[in-house]
Amino acid sequence: MSDTYTITPEIEAFIEECKGKEFSKSYLIAVLHKIQAKYGFLPNNLMEEVAIRMEIPTSKVYGVATFYHMFTLVPEGKHIVNICLGTACYVKGAEQVLNSLKNSLKIDLNQTTEDGLFTLKATRCIGTCGLAPVVMVDEKVYSNVTPDDVPVIIAKYKNK
């Protein structure tokens, strides 16, 4: 199972590049970002692998991975539905949109749908507060979202 997650040649090259630089251990977060970008989460075996390659204690790698909200340790759905719960979005009704998302996807925050298509997550501001409330699916930002828009947005990703 764990061999499905490997250090790809690109990641390996990146680690090597970092190791050649001054203060090489400081690139741990950048390396973790690379792995998460590849697999959508941080597989256990890879964190151990990173620890060995970068000569950082495994406990420290875990410590960092668990400290930052953006890193996840479990696999996620194909599409990440991020609802912004920042201040601007909150006062513009993000909670109702969140409820609608929960109803549409039939999951709670930080859960993944059974078909593995969607993971519902919350974020704190993506900097488009002027268009609040916003929902981000993967990289695409939807602005001025109403609870009724939610099923329409979700449907767009169902067949992809």
């Binding site: 977060i29 973790l32 201040t87 704190r124 900097g127 268009l131």
Partner: protein, 727 residues
């Protein structure tokens, strides 16, 4: 060394100019489409593609499709500007691909002129013979400018010329210091684009006689200044939203292509750097920053020159400079817009900062939530390197400096400087006690200077226009401008840059166009999770570091959330506390445990279980957390609660005593009911209710089982007959 640096710069400038010229930048018709996270979310990319197709199909080679960052006018995005050489640009709002077609055929191809209906503000100076824009928001001109403008308006009215002459008030032109008459003001005139300075009421008749009636310019009054705002209208067109601002740090945002170093150089980019390297010692730059009075824009308001001097004087084999682009305050997006729209300004400010502390290496710590800003910064760093502004021996000065990007990973506390340093070092972003301050012991133990994005963007502005001039804008203790991010229940959401000293009222009602849907203003939240809420009676407070502090809030980084009568202040306080509680790194007990206890009390109150003692407890806990926490996060976490307790205590009391939430936001205090007389039994509510607690057969009155209702409000939304009510 001689004059090489400037010459080297001028050479680069020349080749860069040639490249722009070859691309037809100066003589082609420009269609400007914004490209930024917000613009793209509004559909700007589709509009861009549409124009691309049309330009191609038209076969015209004299049209240039020009990408820029965003202008900060979020609520009207996507925005498209049409620049016909020689004309004042016209800006369109809410452009869709369909509307793009109309703009293209009518305006760009010249078949019918500007599409007036879609123009921002729905007006164009073309409708008037002349337009006079008076200085409107200067800290010095202020009232008296209004007086002169008013008198002028009167005269125009008496002469029956309102149809052809427009009198408006707009931006502070930033020439306050050059005015020798204390009752004088300044004004800009379209379409001649002349700038009159030193105007008093006594000059008005002459302007009317000569300028309006004889169509000749009153030479005596013309002032010529090559300041930022002299070209203001040529970039922004005549749009009230922009006219009411003094755009210094945002001057290039929405004007230049953020991926083109040529355009940045064309607008004076890297000139401040070249001048500094040529003429100034590091100490001389620090002295200039001191004269300018610049204070840190990241929230603390610490004097920038002092920080620079401290780092310069600190002992260390090497030194670092960090640009703090973590922008964690949810509801603030100044830095994002700046980095997406004009990344070079920040880089230039950073190189100058690096030079002044003799640092060879800088880091930009940026939150990973801003992918587009990261992309643009990476590109800008690369271009700066290729053009000799970064790297070894910059412009032949002998000074070497380079910048590296470091990404955050979603932790608010990493905006705090010591936590940020740990994060760059690749560790958990936990703060540590200060002193030693980073200026003494920072990254890997070396002296480190940390500045906010906006602080650094101010540096080239100050050096180009002169520190004394900069110090003439703003108030006694707060110089220059501040960018605010307007969000919440306000008509025009977006970014506005105004002189320090502008009142909250002006920002909210003049810049922001007032409260949405004609609702009543309730409060403005400044400073995000570290800040506070100010009520209506404080609307005339001016924004500067000291006044906002005194009022019980803070300037913060510039987030401004406007709240209306529909918002509950207890709920807002709870929201912020949930945020800080969640983001507390857990290192020290007062913050970790204290915020949890405060949150519990707020949850009690919003559930209708609070007591009056709880209010006192909140105050006591708050003051302990403030005093005993290790870092700024904990020290300021109670602020939203304490400020709402101070200014909106009655609202807390209503929750406690009457068990009611007047704004209807605190769910647990709500009760949904179906009015029997109005219910037609359409079953819509029952079908929508997520917990199926509404019963009733079709065409019969429906009833809600209160014990199972989760107060989600779905039934209220579902009912088309106004039969569901709450509270």
């Amino acid at each position: 060394m001689g004059k090489d640096i400037i010459n080297n710069y001028l050479k680069i400038k020349e080749t860069s100019h040639q490249r722009l010229k070859d691309a037809g930048y100066f003589d082609r018709i420009k269609i400007q489409v914004g490209s930024a996270t917000c613009e793209n979310a509004s559909g700007a990319q589709d509009v861009y593609t549409e124009f691309e197709k049309m330009v191609k199909a038209s076969g015209r080679s004299d049209i240039l499709l020009h990408m820029t960052g965003c202008t900060g006018h979020c609520s009207s995005e996507p925005i498209v500007g049409v620049f016909i050489p020689g004309d004042i640009p016209v800006k369109y709002g809410h452009v869709t691909p369909q509307k793009a077609f109309e703009i293209f055929t009518s305006h760009v191809q010249g078949n019918g002129g500007p599409v007036v209906d879609m123009i921002l503000d729905k007006k164009t100076d073309r409708l008037y013979n002349h337009e006079f824009v008076f200085c409107g928001q200067g800290t010095k001109c202020g009232d008296k400018s209004d007086k002169v403008a008013q008198a002028f308006k009167e005269k125009i009215k008496q002469l029956g010329m309102e149809e052809t002459i427009k009198v408006a008030s707009g931006v502070c032109f930033g020439v306050c210091n050059d005015m020798n008459n204390t009752s004088a003001t300044a004004c800009y005139v379209f379409p001649e684009r002349v700038f009159y300075g030193n105007i008093t009421e006594a000059d008005l008749d002459e302007i009317i006689e000569q300028h309006i009636k004889n169509n000749t310019i009153v030479k005596r009054l013309v002032v010529k200044l090559d300041r930022v705002n002299n070209h203001f209208f040529e970039h922004y067109g005549d749009v009230e939203y922009f006219n009411h601002q003094l755009r210094l740090t945002l001057k290039n945002c929405g004007v230049i292509d953020p991926e083109s170093i040529e355009e940045y150089i064309h607008f004076g980019g890297f000139e401040a750097l070249a001048n500094s390297l040529q003429n100034d010692s590091p100490q001389a730059i620090i002295d200039k920053i001191r004269i300018s009075g610049l204070r840190g824009r990241g929230g603390g308001g610490y004097p920038t020159a002092t920080k620079w001097a401290n780092t310069r004087n600190a002992k260390g084999d090497r030194k670092f400079i960090i640009c703090n682009a973590d922008e964690g305050d949810p509801g603030a997006f100044m830095d994002r817009s700046m980095l997406e729209g004009d990344p070079f300004s920040v880089i230039e400010g950073m190189i100058i900062g690096g030079y002044s502390i003799s640092s060879e290496r800088g880091f930009i710590y940026i939150r990973a939530e801003y992918p587009l800003a990261i992309e643009r910064l990476e590109n800008a760093i690369k271009l700066a390197r290729e053009n000799g502004f970064l790297g070894e021996n910059i412009l032949g000065s002998g000074y070497s400096f380079d910048i590296e990007l470091r990404l955050g990973a979603g932790a608010f506390v990493c905006g705090e400087e010591t936590a940020l340093i740990h994060s760059i070092e690749g560790m958990r972003g936990m703060p540590r006690p200060r002193p030693p301050y980073p200026s003494q012991k920072g990254l890997w133990g070396y002296p480190t200077m940390i500045n906010n994005v906006e602080t650094l963007a101010n540096v080239p502005v100050i050096l180009l226009n002169g520190p004394e001039w900069f110090a003439s804008v703003g108030t006694e203790g707060s110089k220059g401008t501040k960018v605010f991010a307007l969000a919440g229940k306000i008509n025009q959401t977006g970014l506005v840059e105004v002189p320090m000293g502008t009142t909250l009222r002006d920002i909210i009602f003049k810049n922001g166009g007032g409260i949405k849907d004609g609702k009543k203003f309730k409060a403005v939240q400044t400073g995000g999770p570290s800040g506070g809420c100010l009520p209506e009676s404080y609307l005339d407070t001016i924004v500067d570091y000291d006044s906002l502090n005194k009022a019980g809030s803070i300037m913060g980084s510039g987030g401004m959330i406007v709240l209306s009568e529909d918002d509950c202040m207890v709920d807002i306080a709870k929201f912020f506390l949930e945020f800080t509680q969640n983001e507390s790194c857990g290192k020290c007990t007062p913050c970790r445990e204290g915020t949890k206890r405060m949150l519990e009390i707020l949850e009690k109150i919003t559930a209708g279980l609070g007591t009056m003692e709880d209010l006192d407890k909140l105050e006591r806990l708050g003051s302990v957390i403030r005093k005993a926490s290790l870092c700024g996060l904990g020290q300021t976490a109670p602020n939203p609660v304490l400020s709402t307790l101070r200014h909106f205590r009655d609202e807390y009391e209503t929750h406690v005593k009457d068990k009611k939430c007047p704004a209807g936001r605190c769910k647990k205090l709500l009760k949904y009911e179906i009015i029997a007389e109005k219910c037609v039994g359409c079953t819509a509510c029952a079908r929508r209710c997520p917990v199926q607690c509404i019963s009733g057969s079709p065409k019969q009155v429906h009833v809600i089982d209160q014990s199972r209702c989760i107060k989600c409000g779905m039934c209220f939304e579902a009912c088309k007959f106004d039969a569901v009510k709450f509270n």
